[in-house]
Subunit: 293 residues, 2 copies
Amino acid sequence: MPLINVRDSSMLEMKSRLAQKSMAISTRYPVMIIGGAEDKTNGCEILRAFFESAGGSSANIGIIPSASREPTIVGDRYYQIFTGMGAAQVQILDIRFRTECEEPRWQDVLKGCTGVFITGGDQLRLRDLLCDTPIVDSIKTRLQSSELVIAGTSAGAAIMGEDMIAGGSSGESPNQALVDLTNGLGFVPELLVDQHFHNRNRMARLLSAIAAHPNRLGVGIDEDTCIALGGDGTFQVLGKGTITIVDPGSLTHTNHPVTGEDSPLSLHNLRVHVLKKGDCYDYKKRAVLQYHS
Amino acid sequence: MPLINVRDSSMLEMKSRLAQKSMAISTRYPVMIIGGAEDKTNGCEILRAFFESAGGSSANIGIIPSASREPTIVGDRYYQIFTGMGAAQVQILDIRFRTECEEPRWQDVLKGCTGVFITGGDQLRLRDLLCDTPIVDSIKTRLQSSELVIAGTSAGAAIMGEDMIAGGSSGESPNQALVDLTNGLGFVPELLVDQHFHNRNRMARLLSAIAAHPNRLGVGIDEDTCIALGGDGTFQVLGKGTITIVDPGSLTHTNHPVTGEDSPLSLHNLRVHVLKKGDCYDYKKRAVLQYHS
């Protein structure tokens, strides 16, 4: 009965693929983008998911605290957390000057890492220190070949895209002057990330950013919430808040750029999703995949 | 040449319709919904448009200051403005108790009015005083038969829909507890209005309100900005800020209502528009009509 054999084997193959996919979804996320203020004392859902993605008890985690003005304190905080979870090794890449990025010692540390965690602070500082350096190149190469996973929180989340929100304000109609834009480190080029999102009322600023970059996908990430990328163009939501997707894929009009910097912006036909824990989204196809209520 | 005559006459008819439409758009708005803090000292663009809609120098304007705890001061402010513009008559309907709504004196005032202006204050106070009273019935009837126009600002804007945002907060992920909902006065039943919109960072609250009422159209109106309804299911934007439309017409999922009141809400596939002065929108067909950049 060759036909049945073929079907059996293809079903087994399918089951095995599903098992792999489900394992990939539930335990290993190549990239995690965290909205800041993630739980560090209770269940640590998000940090634990990163720890597991990096290999759990075999994890070799490198912490980059360079966005912070207190890199020693911040670095140590995460060192204690990942050590406490049982990581095999945790190292702090306390890079303070751009010239350091050329030094072989950091490359040596990175070579051993299965996971890199980028802390909060000032995203402009991160960009100035790390953009177009061998450190970032090395992380990108090792990310591509699945040799490590990365996560970034707050400023460490902001730098994930090719374009980056450097700062801005709230409490105004969307306008160009509401947001400062620059380049990010480009780990996930197509995303334009904003963090502490609804907590700091950043919808007008993300809308203003998307008006300037309608080729990107706007992703507003609340505190203690993250998008966990599966490496196949999809992500799922972890944590206690929401993810707000601003998709300008069907935009029919924007008046950006306007002459007066604080003139109100218009944006016609955006698609917006509010996602919560368990929701999955395909950012290549720009579609919500499933949900758990 | 009958054919040419027919074409000529139909072209003339079309021209005349366009002229009428353009006149209707530019000078008479049956309903104006203003996001609060409209300019009262400079060009007074929005208030002047209301004054013109009500008949200009022949206007007989009734001011309802009842949302305010200082109805005398607020009423007098608008009295001075519309008198200063040259209205034929301005009267203040200083209704302080619900029982007053039965009194013939207010009906007599309303009968003469060509325009009614509802001021800011507390929208719950307006609802408690006016909902299901002969005052509101009378305004609706006269609005329907084009005998008067109405405008409301801030609290006076909030009460326009059948459903109303009574209050709420910001700085949180969208959730049920973020917004207090009740019934409005229902002058434009299908709209769910929020005001002082980006100025007070109300996107999360409007999203939360729309999750509860996905049969409505969410309209966030910034300060010194208004939607001026044409009476044909369309409106245009006046003023200096933006209008944010949250259209759940293609919503594929929401988890509302959730068990935990402060659990995050999800909303999949909203259509969102940011409109500015000159933009037109058809809220029956739910489509942006045109724009002026």
